[in-house]
Symmetry: C3
Subunit: 366 residues, 3 copies
């Protein structure tokens, strides 16, 4: 649980920390109770994810995650082959996580505080963000740097009638790019997107990340030349995690600049912003003695994010998309890999429509 040494499920397999031959089986899951003010509570098996890994030889590994969402939906969430030239250079291809911010790569429930993921990691970074791609990853121990560099298939921005007319848009004002994720499902590919991340782990307890994503969305062949069929994306992210003894802090800033949103909104009737931007800061403190195996972390998180940080053309910025959230909660790690969570959220926006929410959750990772 030392946060700067954190590995996610795929990394744990790829690094050989579990076992080095045969099929590795693992998984993680979250069962949640959410009660927004003025509504009934919802109980949900939000996700259960099974992981299968296989090491063909010293250089070649395969990792896949199969996710069961809300009890009855299934998604292959990751499925990629890694071929290692050496520790510094590992080629990867397949369905992979886009490295942007913290949560998209590190979303196992025992690795973050709060029953729900930070809200900006839903509306701005569309977690779990994954597409089919190819690239290279590795680390330089000398420079204390991990790097990732990928070419990905991108978001699908529009649907067409297959006769040259745009019939709908997949992107929107409230949750930005989220609706455009293709997830590797017979996905349309006509524009290359570039993604990369650099992680610095050279100072004890600290981990710093710099992410970038650049490209254009995908559109059906028959409308790809039509104005507003696709948009350009430049997204950068900064993140930091620091832990020392019973104290931990993490934060993240992400800014996405979208081009051609005016013609996109005209063509599709959507209200997509031209700048999506947000940040959060979170600090936690383990209330139990350090030598105990269990941890009881009290934490507070503040988020500020806006999917209409700027808009193009005549589109008026919607104040309800300019959101601020406080989360106060507890993460009780009853064993290494098992957590019980509780928190209370105050959700506000610039239009002053406030809602509060009480959350409980159970999380496992094995």
């Amino acid at each position: 649980q030392n946060q700067q040494n954190q590995q996610n499920t795929a990394q744990r397999i790829l690094s050989g920390n579990i076992n080095t031959k045969g099929v590795t089986v693992g998984g993680y899951g979250e069962i949640t109770y959410n009660r927004p003010s003025g509504k009934n509570a919802e109980l949900d098996v939000q996700r259960l994810v099974l992981l299968f890994g296989y090491k063909f030889d010293d250089r070649t590994q395969f990792v896949t995650e199969i996710e069961f969402e809300h009890v009855k939906e299934v998604y292959v969430e990751q499925a990629f082959l890694q071929y290692s030239l050496n520790d510094q250079v590992n080629l990867r291809a397949g369905l992979m996580l886009v490295p942007m911010g913290i949560i998209n790569e590190y979303h196992e429930p025992t690795t973050f505080n709060g029953v729900e993921r930070p809200s900006m990691d839903v509306a701005i970074v569309p977690t779990t963000w994954r597409e089919i791609g190819i690239g290279v990853a590795g680390k330089s121990a000398a420079a204390s740097l991990r790097y990732q560099l990928y070419v990905f298939n991108g978001f699908q921005s529009t649907l067409s009638d297959e006769n040259g007319t745009i019939i709908s848009g997949q992107l929107g004002g409230s949750s930005g790019l989220r609706g455009g994720r293709q997830k590797g499902i017979k996905s349309n590919f006509n524009n290359i997107n570039f993604s990369g991340k650099l992680d610095y782990y050279g100072l004890p307890g600290l981990r710093l990340g710099l992410s970038g994503y650049f490209g254009r969305t995908q559109s059906p062949k028959d409308v790809e030349a039509v104005a507003g069929a696709d948009i350009g994306i430049s997204m950068i992210g900064l993140d930091a995690r620091y832990a020392k003894q019973r104290f931990s802090v993490r934060g993240q800033f992400v800014r996405g600049a979208l081009s051609d949103t005016e013609s996109y909104n005209l063509a599709t009737g959507k209200d997509l912003g031209s700048i999506l931007q947000g940040y959060y800061l979170e600090t936690g403190y383990n209330l139990l003695a350090l030598q105990k195996k269990q941890q009881l972390i009290g934490f507070v998180r503040y988020e500020d994010y806006n999917t209409h940080a700027s808009t193009a053309g005549n589109l008026v910025e919607n104040d309800t998309y300019n959101r601020q959230e406080w989360t106060f909660g507890l993460s009780y790690l009853i064993a290494n890999g098992a957590v019980v969570k509780a928190d209370y959220q105050l959700k506000d926006n610039a239009a002053n429509k406030q809602t509060n929410q009480l959350n409980f959750g159970i999380g496992v990772w094995f």
Copy 2:
């Protein structure tokens, strides 16, 4: 196969009978042939269930079952975390089986006779009955008692238009509460339900069970104050299993008393009964010598169950819901964990509409 020592899949993992570290993988499945009189036969991979368990430490375990029904439907059927204070007191939370009667907790195909589950374990006990809950389970070796005590989310009885009008009911005359199961799928929670079971295993070969379930159904927030939106439930069950050498017998009685069904039926147009009641008796005999590893069990089962044992208000009892069934069959256990089944069923009701059905099945549990 000694029935009073029977454990189900989750219990087998939790008791550490399989292995004590790492991920446990198991499963069970049923492939069935059903031929009702006057109809074509149906061949179906009725269910295939995968089980994954993990022991985090001596106190903390996670169990999940993922079910594939009819080849292409998927459900997370169980997913709960157990934290053991000691052998007597184990805290549990998550998606769990409601302990009521025999089959809902013990439905692995090698543990019961007959290709299909007893019909009352479909219409009265809505197997597989599972919801998200929290509770405590354990045993007292001194008193030869196992106990379970849970608080569960309950059945959803009505759907609304979200503006205060009930638009449909989920419960009904023929199969009672079955349509109201929420199964942990983004489930609505506004009334607590209590569930418990006591099992006595103090006499050699015998196992006695007493189950209870008490609470109210759930309804959408906007109609929860509307008359008929929800109903009250009090269900009790008695079950017994006895085995001695080549002979075995089991039986079960369940009675569910539902309140407010008159206003429920008025509000929804349904024909839900106010008493659901039934029982069955089954006896079997192993036709092979006891020292053989295989068993060939001939059995006969008689069921009598009625989802209109009583009705409220003007609702007339529907005689077709007053059902009697004879099942004659064979269970050929070709190995420990693998069974081939065959049976013939005579299904009658008080309206004298008789149908017969021929069934064959293959079952595995590993």
Copy 3:
């Protein structure tokens, strides 16, 4: 990768090559890039298959494959119990692959060249072709013969309104029997179908196969006596695989003769042919030295298949169903069980509508 010793996933488990007790976990998967001329490229996690096997005792085994197609569809693809009387006679029952040609039984991506399966193994042999059945399989080491003999549930040819009127047909001109596969999903069974295969492996490097499938399609009870509700099927297949050092060749011929297609087409408005016929020839050469663990196989395949090789009654043969394809490509086996593929296809038909397609793929089998 020596092709005449090839085993598929189920055979590998059943033969005990992996492990002999406990649950076996394995899988295979394909991620594909397809770019037909004049269209956008499609990126897809085409399939990810998990395999679970269990050996109950020396005689009794269970094998199941669970397939995740296009990220979010799930199918139980195989689920059968095997009981071995001896090496020569193994009884099998459950959801099984129909043995016809090469690919339907051997479709793990490292066992065949080309990103996509041969097209005739889609349109004529409707891979992956599986139904619920029962039968016997085994081998005679003395005669160097493997045999399989099954009784299967067959294709569903028609749907009815349940009042004696046919409302649609499931079979058709372009892809023949493919739409009629019931896949074990609550499948209708009123006509027995017979299937068998004989494999000769007596000459070094060679494997010869002879397959047969004979029976009638299934139709709903209320129309089973109506003319055109079902058709008769006689299909035979011949296949050969030969490998010597860096050279390999394989080929396949399949001919399906369908009876009663005239009345079927009249009753359903379909254009089902009366003869489906095709063959392919493929040769490959490993461009790397034999002692290397990796292989880089250059290959070329020619296919000629026609789902209107003959038609009955007034149905005119559709020239677009008379198809010829060249595939030129590379299979780079980067490890035993991991392959990267690339190929280019020239697809022509007797109506001279040519399309070309560029394919890339990643395949794993573990």
